[in-house]
């Protein structure tokens, strides 16, 4: 179980301090939780605070009752938090197999590496020896990023806008990956998303706007009300765009 208590985060911008998150408190115990909200509402900041990439200005974070607020990214990863980047990072010389092995925390065989890649819809043999560099497309990188999360198989997996930067065609295939993941995953998934199809498989939806939690509830409670709100405008804009 992940608990955020009174999380505030502010950052310096052009000499002025801007509050990005103010007094966010959340409890995540469900298998699949989606955080949605307009661009700039603080969703990605929240995800990075969970992973330890950003440190909150104030507030506490607990994982299964343990205060992890001051733990490093590495220590949180070791405690069972995985984080999928919105913009996957490229590496010269590190192959897909290397990266999946590092994620799995051990040397893995071709078969095991291939099984993770097949899960995300990549034909493994074509990719296993390729470098995770600029030669891969945004959609391919995204899938590899998700495969690293599968290989880790931790108790909490955080996905920061998996739909960002990939075309609609790739995305509709990706949805099925998340649908499958929902069935198979042992831990919890926390996903930042604007996509209705992702929100549709969530057990719980949290709407964040202007750095605050605006609504929390089941998808039945939240989804119908999203229409007409700022969060959903962003959502429909994206769908139309």
């Amino acid at each position: 179980m992940l608990e955020l208590k009174h999380i505030c985060f502010s950052a310096e911008n052009g000499g002025k301090r801007k509050e990005i998150l103010s007094d966010v408190s959340l409890t995540l115990d469900e298998r699949f939780v989606a955080i949605t909200g307009p661009n700039g509402s603080g969703k990605s900041t929240l995800a990075k605070i969970v992973a330890g990439i950003l440190t909150p200005t104030s507030g506490k974070i607990y994982l299964d009752g343990e205060d992890i607020t001051n733990l490093s990214v590495t220590d949180r990863a070791k405690r069972g938090i995985s984080f999928a980047f919105q913009q996957p990072v490229r590496f010269k010389g590190i192959t897909v197999k290397d990266l999946v092995s590092l994620a799995a925390g051990k040397k893995i065989g071709i078969n095991e590496a291939c099984s993770y890649l097949s899960e995300v819809g990549l034909c493994a043999r074509d990719y296993i020896d390729r470098e995770v560099d600029a030669s891969l497309s945004g959609g391919e990188l995204k899938r590899i990023e998700i495969a690293t999360i599968l290989a880790r198989g931790t108790k909490l997996s955080v996905f920061d806008e998996p739909e960002a930067g990939i075309d609609l065609w790739s995305f509709s295939n990706l949805i099925s990956v998340f649908e499958k993941m929902y069935e198979k995953v042992k831990g919890s998934i926390l996903i930042i998303s604007h996509q209705e199809r992702i929100l549709n498989i969530a057990d719980k939806i949290i709407v964040v706007a202007n750095g605050k939690v605006e609504q929390t509830g089941t998808r039945e409670e939240i989804l119908p009300h999203l229409l007409g709100t700022s969060a959903c405008r962003a959502l429909t804009d994206k769908m139309e765009g």
Partner: protein, 306 residues
């Protein structure tokens, strides 16, 4: 061979024992073993210089030649000339390398001057590794010079690797290419401590449709200093590409000097040079996989130089 010599051999030539096929092992300035085959002849120089001539018959296919050098004596300084004559349409692998284990206080130095005469249509893959070790204060110095002459349609691929251990190196590589000849160079360097590594490539693309691709990837750590000079002269219809990609760490310094000269309107020449530290997001990504910052750095460097 003793354990130290075997270790050096493994480092520079991936050899666990005496190799198969043609070889010449140079050990502390003397001969540590030699074998010629029907197609590959290795003979000592007769002009008074130290070194060997390696003569490969035309049409020799799928043969390899190993010419490792190992130095275990402190204070040994030597200049060695190795000349390769590769016959027309041959296709061979040549593995050279120099390992120095300097336990003493004096400087050990090996300067290898390798000349390749690659005949028409021949293909050569040349792999060169440099390794230095030892727990003394004596410096390990290596100054390899490679002279390459590629005849019409010849192809040469040169892989050169120097990972730690060499205190000072000035590597000079000069190449002249005739019609349709092609040269590929892949260099990998890791320096640390107070090491100094200078690379000076100079390629003359003389023949029509000749081409060269010179790529260096390097990591400079601690107080080490690296210099990369890459000169390509396009003297006819040709294509040349040079790239220097360096990771800089701590208080290291790196200079990259690409120099392209087009002496013909149909010469197409490109250079790329990038020097920078490891990107913060790369470290963070690997840390989210459970690696410490130190481990993340090691993986990034390992991948970069692989």
């Amino acid at each position: 061979m003793d354990e130290l010599e075997k270790m050096l051999l493994m480092q520079v030539a991936d050899l666990h024992k005496i190799p198969e096929g043609a070889y010449n092992i140079r050990k502390d300035g003397g001969t540590g073993g030699r074998n010629s085959t029907e197609n590959v002849q290795i003979v000592s120089k007769t002009d008074g210089k130290s070194g060997i001539d390696i003569i490969i018959k035309p049409n020799t296919k799928n043969e390899s030649v190993h010419i490792p050098v190992i130095i275990t004596q402190t204070g040994l300084k030597e200049v060695v000339y190795n000349d390769f004559y590769i016959g027309e349409n041959a296709d061979v692998l040549i593995i050279a390398g120099c390992g120095i284990h300097n336990c003493g206080q004096q400087e050990s130095e090996h300067s290898g001057i390798h000349t390749f005469h690659v005949g028409k249509g021949a293909r050569v893959r040349y792999v060169e590794k440099h390794y230095g070790g030892g727990d003394g204060n004596g410096e390990n110095v290596m100054n390899p010079t490679t002279e390459i002459f590629l005849d019409e349609g010849a192809h040469m691929e040169m892989e050169t690797t120097q990972i730690k251990g060499i205190d000072s190196t000035v590597r000079v590589t000069n190449a002249t290419l005739e019609k349709k000849a092609n040269l590929v160079i892949r260099e990998k360097i890791y320096t640390h401590g107070k090491q100094f590594a200078k690379t000076d490539f100079s390629v003359d693309l003389n023949g029509e449709d000749s081409g060269a691709d010179v790529v260096s990837r390097s990591v400079a750590a601690e107080h080490s200093v690296q210099e990369f000079i890459s000169r390509i002269n396009g003297n006819g219809k040709c294509h040349g590409h040079t790239e220097c990609d360096a990771i800089i760490m701590d208080s290291a310094r790196v200079t990259a000097v690409p120099e392209l000269t087009a002496n013909n309107v149909d010469a197409e020449l490109i250079h790329e040079a990038a020097i920078g530290k490891i990107a913060g997001e790369q470290l963070i990504k690997l840390m989210t996989l459970g690696l410490t910052e130190q481990e993340a750095e090691e993986q990034i460097i390992k991948g970069f130089l692989s």
